[in-house]
Assembly symmetry: C2
Homo-oligomer: 386 residues x 2
């Protein structure tokens, strides 16, 4: 169903029937479908009983004759907040609990799509850098697909995530520095060994998996969208993916032109998007010395920075940062007040809420969705906080 | 919708509109519905779009006017085995992946139902003994329900599970000995402090939540049942619950009289059900010195032993044990060959497969379902095995 790939920077079209990474201009490639054709023969009533993210397979990278690679990703609950919303005066706060994905995080969606497609196009080995959860998700889906997998992670990645990745049979290489350094090493490994680099946005299909969060939100809300989405933002693939989902849904005629305010939350110790947003810049400067216990937010430079910043502005959203103390308290609060044990990244989204209320970005009657991106069990900073 | 509670030992009826524990005869109470009435107005076509276990709420303990207590439990994937089945010559092996429940285990189902009902009937504090995952599930649902929770666990319970339980705001008390000793201490606490004891099968509703595994299996298989179910068995509530589900489904007219062979798997270091099954006994003697890394199987005496043994025999099933070495290897294999990181209990079920094939209990063409009951992340014995 994919018509072609399109560079998000220069607009050039590329064929979708072979393994691709970046456009020669350096821009990320996005999958484009013939939505006008699809709109005539596919509607919400056709979604059927299939559970999880592959219920939207018409807009996912699996050919009709292929069995999608699945471990049960997607179809996560959208829980009405019982106490955190009311405590901040928010009457319609919802938690999208992505911890119920395989490997305990939202990364499962993107890697299910990417590893499925990589295998279909002939890849023999999956290689990627990861600040944590993407690596273990890639390892699990590679195991399911019968592919070799090598994950390069910065020293300082939570040890349980490294152990999890090894348990799935992947090779893990530790490097000094941040995920940017891990990314350079992953590209070296691919150049030397012929593995396929599935770094986020350096291959076209992780964003396709991630966009299903947007399809699910719309479906769960009866083909309407919330007033605001609060999203912990490292590489920002989910934010880019959901925005793409909303554009596709409008082209399909399933929703109208309305959009949520998209709100990126980062850690004060690594906040390149917040800095660029406040400076009015179109791109984000790399953050020189990224420091935060929220390993998923320890991303000093996002290749999709210009897309994220554009989405935040066009949606009337914003970008805010919180301290490590605040984000850990946010995660503790999620567990005690809602019964949801999340990682520090989701804690950051919770911690941002009172700031967003104070500055008027979200209002008491707004339907606001907070993304709970990963499970707390994997983070010593959460589990040892008692 | 619950007509009354019925003692599974003496048959005596008890009212369902108040907090109950055991029958005066010492037997567990089971919920009974007016299934003949229900059969006339409720069919598979009425299940609708509700996801998770509460899609079967007509046979669950939530009154029509109540909002069910949910964190998104149930609706877990039934994954075709990619490599383990073929390796053992089983062509239709399925994995029911219960690790995708809230708190990472099948215990979420039972505790969602039990805590919902306890709150509705006026309980202020939840108390229970646990060998691990039941405690953290009770803590999460108590947090969601706004109830206090105290969990009594044996020393030797995996530290990540204890930390998880504390993170949800529960009080954890460590005791020497096994879950039997923890159970005695929990009953003392309830007698002294007025908490409500939700020990498995000592209250009527955990089995109601667990039975939804049986409803889901039947629905996922198009209202048919598999040839065999391989189930890691500690307290055995899920096994009893699924059997109850099949009886209810037949009474509703949704399935016929066919039943799967029910197969209990235990650890060689704590195998009271296997011992009793082989001896032809109706009850199991308490296991004197329970030892296994599979904490969920470290249950020396199950209050539902007579129900489990009866089900195994009536279904043409069996009970087998595996060593700790075998069950750890089973869990490693699940991660590497299928991409499913499970606890040692599910590893035991996998390890039992070649034995069951050898002794002819399951055959190559049989549709066999293995229950993957809990997540591997919580077990140092799994995570440190790398």
């Amino acid at each position: 169903m994919i018509a072609h790939l399109e560079c998000a920077r220069c607009g050039r079209a590329h064929p979708a029937d072979r393994l691709q990474n970046l456009c020669p201009c350096g821009g990320p490639l996005l999958a484009r479908y013939d939505l006008a054709l699809l709109a005539r023969r596919w509607g919400p009533q056709d979604l059927g009983r299939r559970r999880g993210m592959w219920r939207y397979r018409e807009v996912l990278p699996a050919a009709v004759e292929e069995e999608p690679l699945t471990l049960g990703e997607g179809g996560t609950p959208l829980l009405p907040s019982r106490r955190i919303g009311p405590a901040f005066g928010l009457r319609r706060l919802l938690l999208k609990d992505e911890t119920l994905n395989p490997t305990g995080s939202f990364k499962a969606r993107g890697l299910a799509a990417a590893v499925h497609r990589a295998r279909a196009l002939g890849a023999g080995e999956i290689v990627l850098p990861s600040a944590g959860n993407a690596g273990s998700a890639a390892a699990a889906y590679s195991a399911a697909a019968g592919l070799a997998c090598t994950v390069v992670v910065p020293r300082g990645t939570p040890p349980p995530i490294v152990a999890e990745t090894v348990a799935y049979g992947a090779t893990v290489e530790l490097v000094d520095g941040s995920i940017a350094d891990a990314g350079r090493r992953a590209r070296e490994l691919c150049a030397d060994g012929g593995g396929y680099d599935v770094s986020t946005l350096r291959e076209p299909y992780r964003v396709e998996g991630k966009k299903t969060m947007g399809y699910e939100l719309a479906e769960d809300l009866g083909w309407t969208l919330p007033a605001a989405i609060v999203y912990p933002t490292g590489g920002g693939t989910g934010l880019i993916g959901m925005w793409k989902a909303f554009e596709e849904l409008e082209a399909l005629g399933w929703i109208g032109a309305e959009r949520p305010r998209m709100i990126a939350v980062q850690a004060a110790g690594c906040a390149p998007i917040v800095h660029a947003f406040e400076a009015g810049a179109a791109h984000a400067d790399p953050w020189p010395d990224p420091r935060t216990v929220a390993s998923g937010l320890r991303v000093p430079a996002a290749i999709g920075d210009f897309l994220i910043l554009d989405i935040l502005r066009r949606s009337g959203g914003t970008a805010v940062s919180v301290s490590d103390g605040e984000l850990l308290e946010g995660a503790r609060r999620l567990a005690r007040a809602e019964g949801v044990l999340a990682g520090p990244e989701a804690g950051a989204a919770v911690a941002a809420l009172p700031k967003l209320v104070r500055q008027g970005t979200i209002a008491p009657a707004d339907r606001v969705v907070v993304f709970v991106t990963g499970h707390g069990l994997k983070y010593p900073a959460i589990m040892e906080a008692g």
